[in-house]
């Protein structure tokens, strides 16, 4: 070996060894993350853990663009006005390069409106409202999670395969419930024009009078029931419905009901035979999905919820967008997000250029009991790209562009 090459090699090795060090020494790229950590602790905590896992992985691997990444987590008390104030602080004082977060749709919408006005990039991770990317969509807002419309369309597809004709609906009395019912009706009627909707029940969110709702549904004698309630409302509804025999011999379609966040609190009283959207982490053993579950369990000594995978993919999306942009400038990040493709634990997703909605899908399956716990069986991952309206319709829905 010539002395020169040896020296070159030595220098090369030294540079390589020093690289992560210099990366760490460089100033971190900061991301502002706003959420309802207290008000919705059961959802926000797994979400945060998902982000932190992705963050540790990327920083161990040398960061993004050679710089470490840091998330600044802030609590907005679930108030849109607070969230807007914190967003301003994160962007102008703390030096965040973009914003993400929110579970509640109204907070997400407030942040998106502000993002458009001030030219900040906002990735709405969890809010489900359809209007976030359609009626109220704007150039600076992107959304990761499969929307209300997409998940309702997936269930409508399953519903159309059954013989049920008479449907009863129950949904919390607020925007999400109304969107979920409208999307389900629209898709089901398109696929099966002879369906009939015999009852619509609208309990106040988290104040359900389950006994009365069950009586009202039973009175309509439907063939099938479409459920949008969740959280404590779902628990009460399932309990009263099971006791009073509402679900016997009826098809039930439950939006989000298969998510561990909602199914697990039901324990051995989880309903059986419901067709639901959710997250069957317990059956994900191989591939990227299984790797994520294993890594998450190893890191946190807890199993992942749906929020965990959303948090993880949020962070992944941001890293990918930053790498693609090659800069931390808002305009560059915005352009990078449009049409961004990346590989995630659920498969490849794309942030559609047409409406900034990612094609993240959802798992659809049937609930059953296993070891005294509700789980999903016969599930299938449905790619979100197949459950969105046509491009022409989307353009009509999105007046801002």
């Amino acid at each position: 070996m010539k002395r020169k090459t040896f020296l070159k090699g030595l220098m090369g090795a030294a540079t390589l060894a020093a690289l992560p060090l210099t990366a760490m020494a460089q100033e971190a790229i900061k991301i502002g993350e706003i959420n309802h950590y207290k008000r919705m602790a059961a959802f926000a905590e797994p979400y945060r853990k998902g982000i932190e896992l992705a963050l540790e992985q990327v920083n161990e691997a040398g960061g993004v663009m050679g710089r470490p990444v840091e998330f600044i987590f802030r609590d907005d008390q679930g108030e849109p006005g607070e969230a807007v104030k914190i967003a301003e602080e994160l962007m102008t004082r703390d030096g965040a390069v973009m914003l993400t977060g929110a579970i509640l749709s109204n907070v997400g919408l407030a942040l998106s409106s502000m993002a458009a006005q001030k030219g900040y990039v906002y990735l709405a991770s969890e809010p489900l409202a359809d209007s976030l990317v359609w009626e109220s969509g704007n150039a600076y807002t992107f959304r990761l999670r499969s929307s209300t419309y997409m998940q309702a369309a997936m269930l409508a597809e399953q519903a159309a395969k059954t013989d049920a004709v008479k449907y009863a609906l129950i949904a919390p009395n607020y925007a999400y419930g109304k969107d979920a019912v409208a999307a389900f009706k629209e898709n089901l009627q398109r696929l099966k024009p002879d369906v009939e909707f015999v009852a619509e029940q609208w309990p106040a969110l988290f104040k359900i009078d389950a006994g009365a709702e069950v009586q009202a549904l039973e009175r309509a004698k439907p063939d099938a029931i479409y459920n949008v309630t969740f959280g404590p409302d779902l628990a009460k509804f399932v309990r009263e419905g099971t006791d009073r025999g509402l679900f016997d011999g009826r098809e039930v379609f439950g939006l989000l009901s298969g998510e561990p966040e909602y199914l697990d609190p039901l324990g051995d009283e989880a309903p059986e035979g419901w067709v639901v959207t959710g997250y069957p982490w317990y059956d994900l053993k191989d591939g990227p999905g299984g790797e994520f579950v294993a890594a998450y369990q190893e890191r946190w000594d807890d199993y992942p919820r749906l929020g965990s995978i959303v948090g993880y993919m949020t962070a992944q999306s941001i890293f990918a967008a930053l790498e693609k942009a090659g800069s931390t400038d808002s305009e560059a990040i915005r352009e990078a997000f449009s049409g961004l493709q990346l590989d995630t634990p659920v498969g490849q997703i794309t942030y559609r250029a047409i409406d900034h909605q990612s094609t993240m899908g959802a798992y659809v399956g049937k609930t059953t009991l296993r070891d005294g716990k509700g789980v999903m069986t016969d599930w299938e991952y449905k790619d979100g790209a197949n459950y969105l309206p046509s491009d022409e319709e989307v353009s009509k829905l999105r007046p801002a562009d």
Partner: protein, 620 residues
């Protein structure tokens, strides 16, 4: 027919837990005059403690024992709260204690999260009571039957306690005239503690009893609060039979509402309450509240006077400092200061109503949010220029206040407060439900100021001028003849009437004026945030303002402003930490105990003692 009976039974079963929580609140109010905002927290604690005990204690005995023990445990917690937090402040101005109970809510929320974790807990089933019995072919859960039997027993036991025992006689005597009871040698302190503990125990019992029908979660404290208040008011504050009847009426009507008017779930309760109060202004079994009947506690209020030179200079210096803020403060400092200024104006408008007018409004958010919505609706649906929309915000809010005030001012005291709350809730549900126009809870977006105001600094100056101007105007009105008339109407209605003041009209004007100023704050708010959601009309927003006014000091002119700045500033600092609600709650309780006259009132007393300010009696 079968369905009808089944629906009736469902309603009656639902009334059980509601009655227990409501009767506790009613008892506490009747005797101690404390409006216990934390009552929902005791209900939540009952559910969580009951859940934990049921995991430990086996079998049917364990299950029912756990419910009983949960009630007792919550009673003990209530007792501690009363002794540690409320007892030191009984001599504070009326209703001041609700600030302390608000602190308790925050503390309990964080403690429950620490102890039981964030996940919803599904209530255990009652052993042997799973499944249904068929009555005329309709399925009725067995546990519903159990509740149907238990509730009247609890109600009877309470009735016996109140009407047939010596303790009950004392409680009733204290409800009617607690000063007299004290004068007759009864240890009031322990009577209050006992009643408070009993009320909390009932809330805990209610929480534990509903476990088999639901469970325990961290949102249940606020979720039951409005229903409980409604029941207590419909029944008549302090009346147990009233609470029982009202709980049954609300629960049964709700069941039929769900079936025949499924969209009515948000409003039904409040419509019933408004109707009842229109016909029977003091609830079904309540008695008329006469102001001062129970003895205005605390020292008499000193007359307010225009600020002296000293104070004027201080205020001028403060405003100058605020005006210079963009020179040295960062962009975010201005955003934060804008938020605080708007909130101070909102608080000052409520303070005007509460401090000067003696009208306690529990629904002031209706005008703040109302003003914001007027502006936002005009911008969204009529493309109104920002300047015009902004001008119409206070006018719209003022008009809403005139309508609501016209109805509510037939009542006084706590009933007035509850009626304002009901109207605020009705407005909230209207905005929430009427999605096509108001956007529902997805709100109205892109409500930004005109280009000349769109910069952070420009908008900051805009908010500064209008907030400070509004606050100064409120102060000015306080010193005008109208302000004197208003205070006269507050302090002695009869004498005021005798001197020729039309007290009802004066109150009416004051109500509309306060609503207008709140609407102005709302208009400033919506253009600073760029969007508006029904949150701004919610009860929590009304409570925020109420807390702040009391915290600052009701009996001082600047209480609202100082309280507002303090609250918002501290909130901005504390929410950066994980257990901020715990810290915030403890801080509120601490301030309440060391400063029972509010921040301003207590500071003034300290200054007087130190000789920095002249004492009131020295002045001519």
């Amino acid at each position: 027919m079968g369905l009808f009976i089944a629906q009736l039974l469902t309603g009656l079963a639902n009334a059980g837990a509601l009655f227990m929580v409501a009767s506790g609140l009613s008892l506490i109010f009747g005797v101690t005059r404390i409006v216990n905002f934390a009552h929902g927290s005791f209900y939540m604690l009952g559910a969580y403690i009951g859940y934990t005990l049921m995991q430990v204690l086996p079998g049917a005995v364990g299950f029912w024992g756990a419910i009983l023990l949960a009630g007792i445990a919550v009673g003990v917690i209530g007792m501690l709260v009363e002794i540690l937090v409320l007892r030191p402040i009984y001599r504070a101005p009326e209703l001041f204690q609700l600030v302390a109970t608000f602190g308790v809510i925050l503390v309990v929320q964080d403690l429950a999260l620490m102890v039981w974790g964030p996940d919803d807990l599904l209530g255990p089933r009652a052993p042997g009571l799973r499944g249904v019995v068929r009555i005329m072919g309709e399925p009725i859960p067995k546990y519903d039957i159990a509740l149907l039997v238990i509730t009247p027993f609890v109600a009877l036991a309470l009735w016996y306690l109140i009407t047939k025992t010596r303790v009950g006689i004392l409680v009733r005597a204290a409800t009617q005239d607690r000063e007299m009871v004290g004068a007759l040698g009864v240890n009031q302190a322990w009577l209050f503690t006992g009643v408070f503990a009993l009320g909390c125990a009932l809330a805990g019992l209610g929480g534990a009893l509903q476990l088999p029908k639901g469970g325990a979660d961290l949102l249940m404290d606020f979720n039951i609060l409005t229903a409980v208040f409604v029941v207590v008011v419909i029944g008549g504050m302090g009346s147990l039979p009233g609470a029982y009847l009202a709980a049954v009426i609300i629960s049964v009507l709700n069941v039929f509402g769900v079936t025949y008017l499924p969209q009515s779930t948000l409003v039904l309760m409040f419509v019933v309450m408004v109707l009842v109060l229109m016909v029977r202004p003091y609830g079904l079994f309540g008695r008329e509240e006469v102001a001062g009947e129970h003895g205005q506690v605390g020292e008499p209020e000193r007359p307010i006077k225009p600020a002296g030179l000293q104070v004027r200079l201080l205020v001028a210096a403060g405003v100058a400092a605020l005006a210079a803020l963009p020179l040295f403060g960062s962009n975010f400092t201005q955003v934060l200061a804008t938020d605080i200024l708007i909130f101070c104006l909102f608080a000052a408008s409520l303070h005007f109503l509460l401090g000067l007018g003696g009208m306690v409004s529990f629904g002031h958010a209706a005008y703040f949010g109302g003003g914001a919505y007027v502006a936002a609706l005009l911008v969204t649906h009529a493309d109104t220029p920002m300047e015009l929309a902004f001008l119409l915000a206070p006018i719209g809010a003022g008009m809403a206040a005139i309508i609501i005030g016209w109805i509510c001012l037939r009542l006084t005291g706590v009933y007035f407060a509850m009626l304002t709350l009901a109207f605020a809730q009705l407005l909230w549900s209207l905005v929430f439900q009427w999605g096509e126009v108001t956007g529902g809870d997805d709100g109205l977006l892109s409500i930004w100021p005109a280009p000349w105001l769109s910069g952070t600094t420009a908008y900051y100056y805009f908010a500064l001028v209008l907030s400070v101007g509004g606050i100064l105007f409120l102060r000015h009105v306080a010193h005008s003849p109208f302000g004197y008339a208003l205070r006269a109407a507050r302090d002695s209605e009869r004498q005021a009437e005798a001197t020729g003041i039309d007290t009802r009209r004066v109150r009416m004007f004051a109500f509309a004026f306060a609503g207008m100023m709140a609407g102005l704050a709302g208009g400033l708010f919506v253009f600073s945030k760029g969007s508006i959601f029904p949150n701004e009309l919610e009860i929590t927003r009304s409570f925020d303002a109420l807390i702040v006014v009391f915290l600052g000091g009701v009996k001082t002119l600047s209480g609202g402003i100082v309280g507002g700045a303090f609250f918002k500033g501290v909130e901005d600092m504390l929410t950066r930490y994980e257990y901020w609600r715990l810290a915030m709650g403890l801080l509120i309780i601490f301030v309440v105990i060391v400063a029972p006259d509010g921040i301003v009132g207590t500071l003034r007393k300290l200054a007087e003692r130190a000789g920095l300010l002249r004492r009131a009696e020295d002045e001519t």
